[in-house]
Symmetry: C2
Subunit: 340 residues, 2 copies
Amino acid sequence: MSLDAVTIADSRSKGDVGPLVRLAKADMAAVDALIIERMQSQVPVIPLLAEHLVSAGGKRLRPLLAVAAARASGATDEIAGSRKLAAAVEFIHTATLLHDDVVDGSNLRRGKTAAHLIWGAPSSVLVGDFLFARAFELMVETNNMRALGILARASSIISEGEVLQLTRAHDLNLDQETYLRIISAKTAELFAAAAEAGAVGAGADEKSIQALRAYGLNLGLAFQLADDALDYGGSSEVLGKNAGDDFGEGKVTLPLLLAAARTRGREDAFWDRTINKGQRSDGDFRRARELVVGSGAVGVTLDTAHQYAEAAKAALKVLPAGDWRRALEQLADFAVSRAA
Amino acid sequence: MSLDAVTIADSRSKGDVGPLVRLAKADMAAVDALIIERMQSQVPVIPLLAEHLVSAGGKRLRPLLAVAAARASGATDEIAGSRKLAAAVEFIHTATLLHDDVVDGSNLRRGKTAAHLIWGAPSSVLVGDFLFARAFELMVETNNMRALGILARASSIISEGEVLQLTRAHDLNLDQETYLRIISAKTAELFAAAAEAGAVGAGADEKSIQALRAYGLNLGLAFQLADDALDYGGSSEVLGKNAGDDFGEGKVTLPLLLAAARTRGREDAFWDRTINKGQRSDGDFRRARELVVGSGAVGVTLDTAHQYAEAAKAALKVLPAGDWRRALEQLADFAVSRAA
């Protein structure tokens, strides 16, 4: 971990996902039950493959956001609609993970062997399609067309972001604006849509819906940027994946872009070989890490992440004060404090 | 072409897709415009890749079915909803084609080089996802939750069928019932859902909706079985793909299953090598074709296809007599007469 990052993180709130997880315990138990129930199929490989990912856990952040949005905007009764939307959000997310891992040729997901390495890429593609379709079946059951529209639109934005990333993945000339557009689309949009749809599903007022969407979008950006920074500065324990994965795939992220810009003239040959040409060998990640951390790129990325986390918290101000709002604020701090 | 097949086809109505295409000209022009409009994206490779498939044409049978169902059940005014559902159906179909070609490693689609060979499998997967999401965005615009439910359910059934086919693709012990289950799910369900949703979108009465769904399902089965037969007996001109493609992929279809059963004891080694073991070389397709045609398997498959075409026509009897109903009847005959 860079000294920069530690200093930055230490000067700010540590954050915690625990309070939100505890508050949402009953809702999330219901969501988990729905997820298990609706990924079943008479075709045996489908639940097997889906369960491989689902049981690996992950933080279920996106469905958590959906139910938290319903609660934070004032819902106190049953929120059957928002729970179904939350399960649908997790299905959409799982579908994109399955397809991403095929697209990127990733070996590891949530600490387990990627599904396509066990069941093959074709099964991963098709089971992803199945989960995506099931997500829409769940949404139809809520009979909430507005929520459906939010998640349908998010789904097309996500795939646009993925394609954009794919076509620009190894392009060191990527500008920061395009990079932010990519992570807005491929990551932050589903956070935003989850929060927005969760609130809509619980009949929240318009002001709260917009606030929760803004919260989700900024939270998503904060999470992704912190993740990008961790890939050059974190331990695999914190990451749930190995540090160096992005570099190993030659993936252009903000820390890399900043480092390449800041070492221009001195290190062009190194970046050109490892990223543009994709010729990486042992020891290259160590050097890349030194350059990324040493040039202050990790620090700047974390700074940017903190700004988004602050924007996320600020968006919550219109919501009723209380446990839920406070827990969402702590989640925003948590998104960026993992880096410390 | 086998003598069997020619004899069977000649003894029945030739059928024609022309009358339906002419009747639906204005509706389909509007659907085509929608398709072009909604596959646009600011990410350049998306419309490029999508257009590669869409401009290759194909018969647009599924959207045609959706608008025809609206008309045949009595709609005379504007059918904006059904047109949007028709475009959505074509997007779902195009998405499954893109994913199928990746899954099967196919080289050719609609007479053109398969998209994944030009833009790569990752782009094909992701653009498929984009089109699928866009389909749901279009459906949301119709504000018709029932139609949405029909197409969401169809989408999950299709992917279940694809996975089932994938896991049983090279299994000569597949029973006919499972085979029919596979083609019902992967092909006929979208025909059924297209017709059903098209009718629902135009506010048709329940009796007509059910009749059109039954028509679509039987039509889809007839088409798929005729296609399976053509793969062993047709010319590439009629097929729009090369005869022998199924065999070339070691794909188990009804003609193959029947032929293997009918030549049991004599040709087990041949089928075991070419299908179970997947060891195929030049000349094997010629021999397979002789065995499939010679054993009467093509004839039986076409017979079965004809039975479904008759069932499709019979389902239409509850609809108002007229040009549209007649044109749908001719389409059912066309589905199976291509084989002649």
